[in-house]
Each structure stands twice: as structure tokens, then as C-alpha cells.
């Protein structure tokens, strides 16, 4: 994306309207993952898609490209660390890896739900980060 794409009022207006709703939908999917269809992977993918849509429609300058890449990397790492961290926390509390009821919450049921939320959030972050990173590596103009 060396060149800013020619601005088109239709795509720009539609995307500007769409992007916040996409992100909200992504969050809904992550939060809904333990009871119905949805989950971290789908939510993360849609969240990344919203940012990629922004990049495609509005273009990115060099500074933004750098920021997108570092955002992708940190999100991906944070997601994996969150996932691993919750697993390790379960272990430290005497359960096995990802045994949510061992988490420090009031009762096992709450711990179970919150544990899955945490895991889904981790997956979502990792997927969104990885997709952003891949998009930037494949479509970006930075060379490394």
C-alpha cells in the first residue's frame, strides 16, 4: 500500500459505517462463544477483518503500516500469553492445565464460565493479531 487508493465516497462512507458494527459483532461473538456458535477464532477473525477493511479502503501511510505491524505482533503474543497464563494459573492453584474450576472465583461454575471467557479472549487476540500480521506481511510495503 505505497499509494493511497483513490478515495471513493461510497466505499469510504459504507466502511466508516460498517467498521464499528463489525467490531461490536466481533466482541459479541467472543463473549457468546461458550454457549452458542461463535468464539474466539471467529470473533478475532472478524475483528481483524474490520481493521483490514479500514486499511484497504482508506490506505495506510508508512507510520500507520509500522503501527499495524507492531499491533499485530503484540496482539498475537498477548493472546498466546493470556491463554498460557490462564492455563498456568489453573496449575498453580492445584488443578491441571486449563482446569477452570480451579481458578480463584467464588464458585466452580462462575470460574468455569470466566475461565472460558479468558481463553476465548486469548484466542481472539491471537487470531486477530496473526491475521493483521499476515495481511501486513503479504500486502504491506515494508520489506523485512
Amino acid at each position: 500500500m505505497k499509494v493511497r487508493p483513490s478515495s471513493n465516497p461510497v466505499t469510504e462512507t459504507v466502511s466508516a459505517l460498517l467498521i464499528p458494527f463489525m467490531q461490536l459483532y466481533a466482541l459479541y461473538l467472543v463473549a457468546h462463544g461458550d454457549l452458542g456458535p461463535g468464539g474466539g477464532f471467529q470473533g478475532g477473525a472478524i475483528f481483524a477483518a474490520s481493521l483490514i477493511l479500514r486499511a484497504i479502503v482508506f490506505g495506510l501511510d508508512a507510520e500507520e503500516e509500522r503501527r499495524y505491524e507492531s499491533l499485530g505482533g503484540s496482539l498475537a503474543a498477548a493472546g498466546v500469553l493470556l491463554y498460557g497464563g490462564i492455563g498456568l494459573l489453573c496449575m498453580a492453584r492445584g488443578g491441571s492445565f486449563l482446569e477452570y474450576p480451579a481458578l480463584p472465583f467464588a464458585d466452580p461454575k462462575t470460574a468455569y464460565h470466566l475461565g472460558i471467557y479468558g481463553i476465548e479472549t486469548g484466542v481472539g487476540l491471537a487470531v486477530a493479531g496473526a491475521m493483521l500480521l499476515l495481511f501486513m506481511k503479504i500486502a504491506g510495503s515494508r520489506d523485512d
Partner: protein
């Protein structure tokens, strides 16, 4: 014969798709087309998994008051994982292809191989 084909039609579909993908991997000289072939090849196997999860009269494996029978959700979950794996493979393959293009200036296998032979 027709009954034999119709009774197991999902296998015919997945085997045909798999062979189309396999053909593209082997016969297409363009590296991107090879990647597309790999994707078709993998998708065929995903379809196979999904087809074996179907239960006669079953609904989607989502909690629902009116459902009596559910399809087996396990293959769905496995394939979700396999799709993620397949996306990662595609991403790595595309990243390699981009670097190959930068180094060789072409994505046609025969030209790349010619370049390598001169090198040796």
C-alpha cells in the same frame, strides 16, 4: 451401479475434489496454483470429516429445545482446528512465494529450476 454411486455420493465428491487438488499440485507449474491445489486437497478432507458427522434426522449441534437428535459435533470441532492449520500453512506458503518472487523474479517452476541449475 447408479445406486452404488448414489448411496455413497459424499465419498465420490470428496475423492474427486481431492484428486483435482492433487492434480493441481503435481501438474501446475505456477507456485500460486500449487497452493490453490493444496487448499482444494485439504478442503476435500474437511468435507469428508463433516460428512461422517451427519446423523440421520439430526440438527446442528447447538442447544435447542425442539431438537431430538444432534449431529456429532466432534468432527466439526476437529475440522475447525484443521482449518486453522490449513490457513497457517497457506500463509507460510504465500510468504515463501513472495520471497521466491523477489529473489527469482518469476513464479513458474521451470524457470526457477533453470535458474538453479545454472547456479550449481
Amino acid at each position: 451401479m447408479t445406486e452404488f454411486i448414489a448411496a455413497k455420493y459424499q465419498y465420490w465428491v470428496y475423492i474427486s475434489l481431492m484428486m483435482i487438488g492433487f492434480y493441481a499440485i503435481i501438474a501446475k507449474p505456477n507456485l500460486v496454483k500449487k497452493i490453490i491445489g493444496i487448499n482444494i486437497f485439504q478442503t476435500a478432507v474437511f468435507l469428508f470429516y463433516i460428512s461422517i458427522s451427519k446423523v440421520d434426522g439430526g440438527t446442528a449441534p447447538i442447544h435447542w429445545d425442539r431438537a431430538v437428535l444432534y449431529d456429532n459435533p466432534l468432527p466439526h470441532v476437529l475440522i475447525l482446528t484443521a482449518i486453522v492449520v490449513s490457513v497457517s500453512v497457506t500463509a507460510v506458503a504465500l510468504a515463501l512465494v513472495i520471497r521466491i518472487y523477489r529473489e527469482y523474479g518469476t513464479l513458474e517452476e521451470d524457470q526457477i529450476l533453470r535458474g538453479r541449475r545454472e547456479n550449481l
